[in-house]
């Protein structure tokens, strides 16, 4: 992409973006009462607090622990453990609210009819077992390869 076409695209995208933002603001003001717009603003603010204050901090903590652990643990093992943690966390974020809503009562019996909390625990257990097996498998494989000097171990 040439410098001129990049510039043209950037200008087009910024103008399009600003127009869409204005449209969004107009639709909001046109269809939502001021009191409820305040509610939207509150939730937008809460989302930033959750992101910057909670998710970012937890991520920072985990990244820090991984960095410290990284001195002694092979990077592939770290990647496997990280994968397990990420999977469990993402499912917690998606499923836990459903499990809680089910516990306090859904609008009718066909909404949230499944066993969310037990299924989540089973899912976590399966991920934990698979993560463990993957680590054991990788470690065994790495050890075996180490015994064969012809194979690169970088």
């Amino acid at each position: 992409m040439s410098a001129t076409s990049v510039k043209n695209w950037r200008v087009t995208l910024v103008v399009l973006g600003l127009l869409l933002l204005a449209l969004g603001a107009y639709v909001m003001v046109d269809t939502v009462t001021p009191g409820k717009i305040a509610g939207v603003a509150l939730w937008l603010l809460l989302a930033l607090i959750v992101h910057d204050g909670i998710i970012a901090l937890v991520t920072f903590g985990v990244a820090f622990l991984l960095r410290k652990a990284g001195r002694t643990i092979p990077i592939a093992v770290l990647a496997i453990v990280q994968a397990g943690l990420v999977l469990c966390s993402i499912f917690a974020i998606i499923v836990l609210p459903a499990a809680y809503k089910k516990s306090i009562g859904a609008n009718n019996s066909t909404v949230l009819p499944l066993d969310y909390a037990p299924s989540l625990v089973i899912f976590w257990a399966v991920v934990a077992v698979l993560t463990g097996l993957a680590v054991v498998g990788y470690t065994a494989l790495a050890r075996r390869q180490k015994d064969r000097p012809s194979v690169s171990q970088d």
Partner: protein, 414 residues
């Protein structure tokens, strides 16, 4: 990595935006709009994709935020006007996206804990998200363009190709820069540790930087992208069964499950919630069909005595779940022919429900004239359950569930 995940996330958001607009205009059509009635499961597909892509956004957006997370703490927080524009647009984007996917998920199981109306805000925020995304892409375009293709991102051995500006500064670089600034030679750079904060940061920094070989960097990079891919595939696989029959067997986390409910079909709004009682739907119930001054009244027995048609059509809810079902009843066109309706005339439908945004709705002539559109009396081999719209409900191809009016009381040609 940010470009790879950003590209997927951008596609997911655009898919949600497109399918969302389709759903919006089906429910709030502009006067000139005409919609396709085939394939009959079009809305089942479009809204199933909308909700599934929305759920897939959770791992994608969290993965993307993780990758760019160090930028959150850049110093100084704002470097110049371009940087301000970039940070402002990304702040709006992150905030609006998180609210959008969170309230969207809560809406799929009708949990309205937020202090605003879902439909209007979801619609307005969609423009805000796509608008801020466009600005974000504009600010990042050189980077996106630089790493768009694999051949420009990696060398022959699969190592990431970094530009000079992307290379981290070494102590020697810093010493050189300092020397240039002060015009005096600078000795070895040492660390001074003061107080608790200093000690904590020193402890953090004391971890020797990983001397990552290209292979290790590849493992780390590919491992993370693979993790997000697996997480996205897993959330889709374990929830999309509510919209796509083929995945029903492994649907363990979706808010709805096929075949659970009266007549073997889930219920969105119960008769109780709509304040429709047995008294409203008892022996006195009758359906009024009118065109101008011509009015015909049908009891349920009258409708049962007419030619009955059986069709297989999905009920596809705006909240994403859908299920194919077998409906039996009177073809709508037969009822309207009896009052002399023209093929290009639309229809107003009124329900017995006492209140609600969809008590009175309109149906375009393309749906009215369709062979498959029925005033249904039976569902899956039995009489309609009260929660499914007894005594009579509408079922048409390619329409959102909220427009498949239950507890019909009045049909007016307009």
């Amino acid at each position: 990595m940010a470009v790879v995940l950003g590209r997927l996330l951008g596609i997911a958001f655009l898919v949600c935006f497109g399918t969302g607009l389709y759903s919006h205009f089906l429910q709030n059509p502009l006067p000139w709009m005409v919609f396709p009635t085939r394939p009959q499961s079009l809305y089942q597909l479009s809204q199933g994709i909308h909700i599934t892509a929305g759920i897939a956004c959770f791992p994608l957006i969290l993965g993307k935020l993780y990758v760019v997370f160090p930028d959150l703490f850049q110093t100084p927080p704002i470097k110049n006007f371009g940087n301000f524009l970039e940070r402002a647009s990304i702040t709006i984007f992150i905030s609006a996206s998180l609210v959008q996917i969170t309230t969207g998920l809560l809406n799929t199981y009708q949990w309205y804990v937020f202090p605003f109306s879902f439909r209007q805000v979801h619609f307005a925020l969609s423009f805000v998200i796509i608008g801020s995304l466009a600005i974000h892409i504009a600010t990042k375009l050189p980077l996106i363009s630089r790493y768009w293709t694999r051949s420009r991102s990696f060398d022959a051995e699969g190592n990431l190709l970094l530009d000079d500006a992307d290379q981290p500064l070494t102590k020697a670089d810093v010493a050189t820069e300092l020397a240039e600034t002060t015009r005096e030679p600078v000795g070895a750079i040492s660390r001074r540790v003061d107080g608790l904060t200093g000690r904590v940061f020193d402890w953090i920094d004391s971890a020797p930087p990983r001397v990552d070989t290209p292979t290790q960097a590849r493992v780390s990079r590919r491992g993370f992208v693979a993790t997000i891919a697996v997480a996205t595939a897993a959330v889709v696989a374990l929830t999309a069964g509510q919209s796509f029959r083929v995945l029903d067997a492994i649907n363990v986390f979706a808010p709805r499950k096929n075949f659970v409910g009266p007549n073997g079909l889930p219920v969105n709004r119960t008769a109780r919630a709509a304040q429709v009682t047995d008294a409203d739907t008892g022996a006195d119930w009758a359906l009024s069909v009118s065109r101008g001054a011509t009015v015909k009244i049908y009891t349920r027995a009258d409708l049962e005595a007419m030619t009955q048609h059986q069709v297989d059509l999905p009920i596809a809810c705006v909240e994403g779940w859908s299920q194919m079902a077998s409906w039996r009843g009177v073809r709508l066109r037969d009822l309207l022919d009896a009052v002399g309706a023209h093929p290009d005339e639309d229809l107003r439908l009124t329900s017995l429900e006492k209140k609600g945004g969809f008590r009175v709705t309109e149906m375009g002539h393309e749906f009215v004239q369709d062979d498959l559109t029925l005033v249904a009396l039976e569902l899956n081999g039995g009489a309609l359950d009260l929660d499914h719209g007894f005594p009579a409900r509408m079922i048409a191809p390619g329409r959102p569930g909220v427009l498949q009016t239950k507890w019909l009381s009045k049909l007016e040609v307009i």
